[in-house]
């Protein structure tokens, strides 16, 4: 019984390639909207005569990455795999395990069309391109519950400053001003948003792009740390773990606001709330209309089989094509990686994001600029800072130490 079934499975996997080139694609998109978005990619790939074999593994980097790396180093690589672009896959590229996509990129003119260009830069090692970017996510959004403010009888804040100014009234009404989950990355995300929102773009660039440690230790950053220390007082009383439990506090009007990435939108949509009437989204915290842009990209492990390599290149070209970009990003709720496509069907919050993107008010995310090791240490520090009474000056000193060691 067991054996027959096993043979059946084996036969099936041996028999298939005769018809079309199979490409196993691993990724960590598994929730409803994400899966629908992946289906668009697969549909397009299958329609062009190849076969997309899906290998979804949820859990993000911590869970999926060891699996992907084991498969690649175990000599049994998948056809393509998702990573957040940036430094995560750098070493695999350096070890010569990834396929060089430069010819695909040149043939399809990626240098001209991929926008913002930083996305393609993140795929480039020694002048060669190793990944195909597929979407943009931005973390710097403030999400507000309109009803909380209506009940108090004050207008919904339009900036972070107004949000802080009205926090006492929110507290007096028995609500939590700021919802913040306990996971370390959420505290780090909130801090990054405050840096751009309160500190401004120049400051952000000097620290994160120029890596100017004198500025990082300077008075302007001290101001951001102070703002974060004030903000953490607003988060007292939000006793939740997951980011979406925190979002739920805003949806159910128990909390006034949350700092979270554009993916929070999906939660509001599923709860059938309408942007503008039930909730308000403020990109760049309403202060500086800037967003940082990171996202997902596909890498293609090297394969000896020339047929597979050809299919890998076909898939890479297709991921960046306008049709796939529109279909995929509408389902995913993320922004496309090229400015020349029409997303008329996008909702209000997505449109705000598109406008900022079109205006070029964008910077790369921390994932692109810092090593995963540095990001992780910063997360550890930030969660301690946001969730305890650590002095802002102490936190800043430790933060500078972590960044300097990079």
């Amino acid at each position: 019984m067991k054996l027959t079934r096993l043979t059946a499975v084996l036969c099936a996997s041996v028999a298939m390639p005769a018809m079309a080139t199979e490409l196993e694609v691993t990724h960590w998109w598994t929730s409803g909207g994400e899966a629908a978005a992946v289906a668009e990619l697969a549909k397009a790939f299958d329609a062009s005569g190849d076969k997309w074999v899906d290998g979804a593994i949820a859990g993000g980097g911590g869970t999926a990455r060891p699996i992907m790396i084991s498969r690649i180093t175990g000599g049994d690589p998948m056809g393509a795999t998702q990573f957040n672009h940036g430094q995560q896959a750098l070493e695999l590229v350096e070890a010569g395990l990834m396929l060089d996509l430069t010819d695909v990129a040149e043939a399809n003119n990626w240098k001209e069309i991929v926008f913002p260009p930083s996305l393609l830069d993140a795929c480039t090692v020694d002048g060669k391109i190793y990944c195909a970017p597929v979407n943009i996510h931005s973390p710097e959004w403030l999400w507000l519950s309109n009803k909380v403010y209506e009940d108090i009888g004050i207008p919904v804040p339009t900036t972070w400053t107004e949000f802080v100014a009205t926090a006492d009234q929110v507290r007096a009404a028995g609500k939590v001003p700021l919802a913040l989950g306990d996971q370390p990355w959420q505290s780090n995300l909130a801090f990054g948003a405050l840096t751009i929102g309160v500190g401004g773009l120049d400051l952000w660039k000097k620290v994160n792009i120029d890596k100017d440690m004198a500025v990082a230790a300077g008075p302007e950053m001290a101001g951001v740390f102070q703002a974060a220390a004030d903000a953490r007082a607003l988060a007292v009383g939000s006793n939740v773990q997951d980011w979406n439990q925190a979002t739920n506090l805003v949806i159910t009007d128990q909390a006034a606001g949350q700092i979270m990435g554009d993916w929070a939108q999906g939660e509001f949509q599923v709860a059938q709330e309408v942007a503008g009437t039930d909730y308000t989204c403020l990109p760049g915290m309403g202060m500086n209309e800037y967003i940082s842009t990171g996202g997902d990209a596909f890498y293609f492990p090297k394969n000896d089989d020339p047929e597979i390599e050809a299919a890998q290149k076909r898939l890479a070209a297709q991921l960046v094509s306008p049709e796939v970009q529109v279909a995929f990003n509408l389902k995913k709720g993320s922004l496309p990686i090229r400015g020349d496509v029409d997303l008329a069907a996008a909702n209000d919050c997505m449109k705000k994001g598109l406008e900022i993107l079109a205006g070029g008010n964008i910077v790369p995310t921390g994932d692109i600029l810092w090593s995963p090791d540095t990001v992780k240490q910063a997360e550890d520090l930030m969660v301690e800072f946001w969730k305890s009474d650590m002095a802002p000056a102490d936190a800043q000193a430790k933060w500078v130490e972590i960044l300097s060691a990079n």
Partner: protein
């Protein structure tokens, strides 16, 4: 190893040696080999892939200057002792209760054992809900009118480990109870008869006669529970993410995985795991010495 002896010694017990071959291979190749491999790469600056670029004790210096790691060790020590004591005591008492010719034994046993079948991630999630002050137990009791009732272990650094303990014991005690029950039922009826003839009360028979006879079972239990404690990870991730206050419930395994796979710093992760394994060795070697050292079986 046996091969060091002369040929006729080698052939002695041949069947037993062949039968033990899988064990010998596993211990030498996987456990000893894997440990040496880990220790070796803990002296390198390996990031995503293992690489032979040696940095001496740098990884260890960084490890021990890290406040998160220091707190992790303290937390594990506290949680470990509490968990060991409670699991063994609860498991034994439950097994004794189950051994009283009760009715519905199957039902009781299944109820106590079922948590063992569920994933830690969801176990953590459910207990996190139940212990949530707003919509869990505290909220319900307050809803009944007892406004001052306070039960919120997960959001205070002083009590968070007890919160984890509630969920950890829930998951594991059922299996320990089963082990103990198997042990209790392996004990000879004659011993009970003798105790009854001598007029020793039941509770005293358990403590003075039965517990010492169940020494092997207790050792098995200790090893299983302790191995589980060292690896404690999913439950913490699901229930507290290491918080509150950022690190009030951090544990070493979480540090190891976070740095190996999220931070992509294998060297740092390996250094931390080497420290973990070293502390296991410190406990294990004296035990092995006592167990095998001076006894007739040795």
């Amino acid at each position: 190893m046996a091969s060091q002896s002369r040929p006729f010694r080698l052939l002695h017990n041949l069947n037993a040696k062949i039968a033990a071959l899988p064990m010998v291979l596993t211990t030498m190749v996987v456990f000893v080999g894997g440990t040496i491999w880990t220790v070796f790469y803990s002296f390198t600056d390996s990031k995503l892939l293992p690489r032979e670029r040696f940095v001496g004790f740098d990884q260890y210096e960084r490890l021990w200057s890290n406040s998160r790691w220091a707190v992790s060790i303290e937390n594990l020590a506290f949680y470990g002792v509490m968990s060991l004591v409670f699991t063994v005591v609860m498991g034994f008492i439950l097994a004794v209760l189950m051994d009283q010719k009760i009715r519905y034994e199957d039902t009781f046993r299944t109820i106590m054992l079922y948590p063992f079948a569920l994933s830690f991630i969801v176990t953590g999630l459910v207990w996190q809900w139940i212990l949530n002050p707003d919509f869990g137990l505290q909220g319900i009791v307050r809803g009944w009118g007892w406004e001052s009732f306070s039960f919120d272990p997960l959001h205070s650094p002083e009590t968070v480990l007890y919160g984890l303990l509630i969920a950890g014991l829930w998951q594991g005690t059922g299996f320990v109870m089963c082990l103990m029950l198997a042990g209790l039922r392996g004990i000879d009826e004659d011993i009970w008869k003798a105790a009854r003839v001598d007029g020793i009360p039941t509770w005293k028979t358990y403590l003075v006669v039965v517990v010492p006879m169940m020494r092997p079972v207790f050792i098995t239990t200790l090893v299983i529970v302790a191995a589980g404690i060292i690896k404690l990870y999913d439950l913490v991730v699901a229930m507290t993410s290491g918080g509150p206050g950022g690190n009030a419930s951090q544990v070493p395994a979480m540090y190891v995985y976070d740095y190996m796979f999220q931070a992509q710093n294998l060297g740092q992760g390996f250094a931390a795991s080497t420290m973990m394994l070293l502390s296991v060795l410190i406990v294990l070697i004296p035990w092995a010495y006592l167990e095998f050292g001076g006894k007739k079986h040795g």
